[in-house]
Symmetry: C2
Subunit: 215 residues, 2 copies
């Protein structure tokens, strides 16, 4: 049973936990190493989060808050998809693509991504938190915008699938970064490379949203 998290002085412990859990997994990461890297005693994990599991859950919530805040800034005050013209819906999708791609390419998303991908492969209680906190609202909006961009040319299921494939083509640059660098023969993804990716992503999304119903 996890005890109720107490408020820590700062987020050093959480940031370190996200990094270590992301790299080594829930079982592979040790509370000793996390505490040492955060320059505190191991027992403060027990004190603040009730133990390893509590720290893991708190780390997930911390990621959700940060991503939620970041994407909300890019989406704040946007109109309801059904109030948009199909053309405006395409533009709104491109706006979400920019926000999401920025997240995928930002250095600070690397530890979040490692943590989240582990939850996709072997979900724990933390996955529910991540899904509810930011995946569900964001994917819901993307699907709604895709549906509106279709203007009846395709059905709801196809909207969901097209939205998924659009996410996938951006996700690959974070989740398969090692392969992406090997394939492009880039050393790193800087501003120039990010611009090239953005151009291709926009062209792909426009192409995907222009095509009529599949088959």
């Amino acid at each position: 049973m996890a005890t109720k998290p107490k408020r820590p002085i700062d987020d050093r412990l959480l940031d370190t936990a996200i990094d270590q859990f992301g790299r080594k997994g829930l079982e592979g990461a040790s509370t000793r190493a996390i505490a040492a890297a955060a320059r505190t005693a191991m027992s403060s994990i027990t004190y603040h989060y009730g133990g390893k599991d509590g720290l893991h859950i708190a780390a997930a919530r911390h990621i959700g808050q940060q991503i939620g805040a970041r994407m909300a800034a890019a989406l704040g005050g946007q109109p309801n998809p059904s109030d948009l013209s199909p053309e405006a819906a395409v533009d709104a999708v491109l706006g979400m693509v920019d926000g999401f791609l920025g997240l995928m390419l930002a250095p600070e998303s690397a530890p979040w991504a490692r943590f989240i991908v582990r939850e996709q492969l072997e979900p724990t209680k933390a996955f529910t938190i991540l899904w509810e906190q930011f995946m569900k609202p964001l994917s819901g909006r993307l699907v709604a915008l895709t549906e509106r961009a279709g203007a009846g040319r395709w059905d709801a299921q196809e909207s969901r699938l097209r939205a998924l494939t659009m996410i996938g083509q951006l996700l690959v640059f974070r989740v398969a970064r090692a392969t992406a660098l090997a394939m492009t023969q880039w050393d790193d993804i800087g501003a120039t490379e990010a611009a090239a990716i953005r151009r291709v992503a926009h062209a792909n999304v426009r192409a995907i949203l222009s095509a009529g119903k599949s088959s």
Copy 2:
């Protein structure tokens, strides 16, 4: 130092290792649990593979062999991309998409994917083995076909990026399966769902390969 792997009686130990390493990671998985699940003694890991690290490397090689064999079957005796017309190159890309999507949706790829994604997030010596054994030849061919399909409408860098995004939109169905099921509200991906994904993937690839140079 890993000793030279000896030939085991069967692959039970390797298959179990792939599953456990994929779920728990190199540090999280225990040789005890692997040996127990494979119904053998822990010391046989030492005997056959020289220890935990040796087993991990052997597991990567085993994955590479199986994926290599599977994709070779889908690609066997294909002509050189530069000998194809742009239209034939598009068809060849669609053929690779079918092969790769089949792999992403096949139940047996789940443990392989878990193992591979871990190597993407935190590469070990096993990543080099995976890259050389099947990622490099397959991605090389996909890029060459994409380049040919462009027929000069875009440059080599854009071919590599378009190839990556095409991979990404298929990868999402394996790597972010939990999210894919949540978004589509499917319980599982069976034959009907696979057909729907394939239709959308083909339409997207055709759209992506039809568009001219981006921006």
